[in-house]
């Protein structure tokens, strides 16, 4: 494995510099220089992030705005809007005005994006509906189950998520457990696999814990005396939930929505396994642009579009939770 590594000369120099910087830092610390600034401790990390996060993102932007020869172009984005853009251009060039009759807009890219957003929206909604009560009951002081349940929600994640998703196949497929059970009872089998429903199930299954944790964290930190006070002042259970608990849990809900929505727009493994290729999602599309078609420029444009969409939706969500109080997994 080590022998496979072939680097250009300047990458070695760069790596050498990083290493020197790191060693120098440690040496300075060890020399007990009282005047040394602690903020320098972040230097190796800053360098690392610029090299391996900022630079790669800039590369995506570079490829999105250039053609195969490296010249500036917006064609990749036109390609997103009209997937027949290249062939239409040829038709119009060859046939001139007459070609207009043969030109049709290829909608596959836009359709896939809309479909992915719709699926992700449904997935987030289902996770919220299923996850909110779960988080609420977990945080219930009288049940005293909280921390044990958190662990119980984490444990499934130790099983490789691809295998867990594949395991759903053995439950859902035509000869699978659910259908065998139905047939044993005398019912007809149902087609459960290879449709949007199966993909949705897989997504909810994989992302549900990401909705439960942040809501639980916020509810658990909430001062329980507030709901007691509400009850003393004459609220019934539902009113307390609706007027006190729910508004206070908004940061957790926002954080949960973010953590479910983002991975579900971009997932490409789940639709491939459970959708069996009938349900192309945006992640699929990007992956196939890069690895099947080898078209980095259009692929980068699609990635950039997705990044921008996600950044916009995040900033809208942030407005609702300006202090960023919604906890993460930890």
């Amino acid at each position: 494995m080590i022998r496979n590594l072939t680097l250009p000369w300047w990458a070695w120099i760069l790596m050498g510099l990083c290493l020197c910087g790191f060693v120098a830092l440690v040496v300075i610390t060890v020399r007990r220089n009282r005047g040394m600034k602690r903020s320098l401790f972040a230097a190796p990390y800053t360098l690392w992030m610029i090299l391996f996060t900022v630079l790669p993102v800039l590369l995506i932007a570079y490829y999105a705005f250039t053609d195969a020869n490296g010249a500036f172009t917006l064609d990749n984005f036109r390609n997103f809007w009209d997937s027949n853009y290249e062939s239409n251009k040829v038709i119009l060039e060859v046939m001139g005005e007459d070609g207009a009759a043969y030109v049709t807009r290829g909608t596959v890219n836009v359709d896939t994006l809309v479909y992915s957003l719709w699926m992700a929206f449904q997935c987030t909604l289902i996770c919220l509906i299923l996850g909110y009560p779960a988080a609420l009951f977990m945080a219930d002081r009288h049940m005293k189950l909280g921390s044990t349940l958190v662990v119980l929600f984490i444990i499934p994640m130790w099983m490789n998520f691809l295998l867990r998703t594949i395991a759903w196949m053995s439950l859902l497929e035509d000869s699978g457990l659910i259908n065998s059970f139905l047939k044993a009872l005398g019912f007809n089998g149902v087609q459960l696999m290879y449709n949007s429903g199966a993909v949705l199930l897989g997504m909810v299954y994989n992302f549900l814990p990401f909705m439960v944790f942040p809501i639980y964290t916020v509810l658990n930190k909430m001062d329980y005396r507030l709901s007691e006070a509400a009850a003393d002042l004459g609220c019934n259970g539902w009113q307390t939930l609706y007027k006190v608990t729910m508004p206070l849990s908004v940061p957790g809900v926002i954080s949960g929505i973010t953590m479910v929505f983002m991975p579900s727009v971009t997932t490409f493994f789940i639709p491939r396994v459970l959708g069996g290729g009938n349900t192309m999602m945006f992640g699929d599309l990007i992956e196939s642009k890069f690895l099947t078609e080898g078209n980095w420029n259009v692929g980068s444009a699609l990635s950039l579009i997705m990044m921008v969409l996600i950044l916009i939706s995040l900033s809208i969500l942030r407005k609702a939770d300006p202090n960023g109080e919604g906890g993460g997994i930890a």
Binding site: M1, T6, L7, F41
Partner: protein
């Protein structure tokens, strides 16, 4: 009655989460190759596991990368958190944006952007590029778990240590780091788990020549998963569970 309903609901959700895992474990004891048909109990796949070099190699890659990425990102992240904490407001805000940036990027974009970087710089993808990618997505999580602990700390403690004659190194190792130990441990655990379970970023930053378990499973998924993979993940699952129980017992004894 009310409590019964709550417990019932939570039980249903948990069953939903555990059913596929149960199916996997049962399948790993199936004598036959078929996913659907039960052909009798057997340990055949557990035996074959230890002779399958592809799987053992993938296991080695997965675990070694998870451990290395955990150690490196914990050191890098803890130092960075201490540094960021000591910064003035402006640079601190900049560093926090930089730290939150990977969280706002979908995995597939992170993976593809790193793939582009490696292809652009003509670095051949494999073990080391995958390790690099894993460190990159782990470090922010370490920082985000250590920083809150530093913020909770009384900021004069460190200065007091210096005034009382401690060298900065001594104050660092005896005052600062012990204070945020729990955050460091959480960060390290998070880094290890994330790295162990990652598929998307690994998929783009390595080639079929060097595979971890996730990418191996992905490439096997089209042909149908070999039951040996089920056996392996059942083993890993049970050992992690045992580890958790032991750690739990230990901490329970201490308190």
């Amino acid at each position: 009655m009310k409590n019964f309903f709550k417990r019932f609901y939570l039980a249903i959700i948990l069953i939903f989460l555990y059913v596929p895992i149960l199916v996997l474990i049962v399948q790993s004891f199936n004598a036959g190759r078929s996913r659907a048909k039960w052909e009798g109990f057997s340990l055949r796949w557990y035996g074959e596991l230890f002779t399958d070099t592809r799987i053992l190699n993938a296991l080695y890659v997965t675990v070694s990368i998870a451990l290395l990425a955990m150690v490196i990102s914990t050191v890098l992240g803890t130092l960075a958190a201490i540094g960021i904490h000591a910064m003035k407001k402006r640079p601190q805000a900049f560093m926090m944006t930089l730290t939150n940036l990977p969280n706002t990027m979908p995995d597939i974009v992170t993976g593809i952007s790193l793939m582009l970087l490696f292809l652009f710089t003509k670095v051949s993808r494999g073990y080391w590029t995958m390790l690099l990618a894993h460190i990159t997505f782990d470090v922010p999580y370490v920082i985000l778990s250590v920083l809150p602990k530093l913020k909770q700390m009384n900021k004069h403690t460190y200065e007091a240590a210096l005034d009382l004659g401690a060298t900065p190194t001594y104050a660092l190792t005896r005052v600062l780091i012990p204070q945020c130990k729990s955050g460091i441990i959480t960060g390290a655990m998070l880094a290890f788990t994330l790295s162990l379970d990652d598929f998307t970023i690994s998929y783009f930053t390595t080639t079929p020549l060097v595979q971890n378990l996730s990418t191996l499973i992905y490439s096997a998924a089209r042909r149908g998963i070999e039951p040996t993979l089920n056996a392996l993940s059942a083993l890993m699952f049970v050992s992690l569970l045992l580890l958790l129980l032991i750690v739990n017992r230990r901490t329970a004894e201490k308190t």
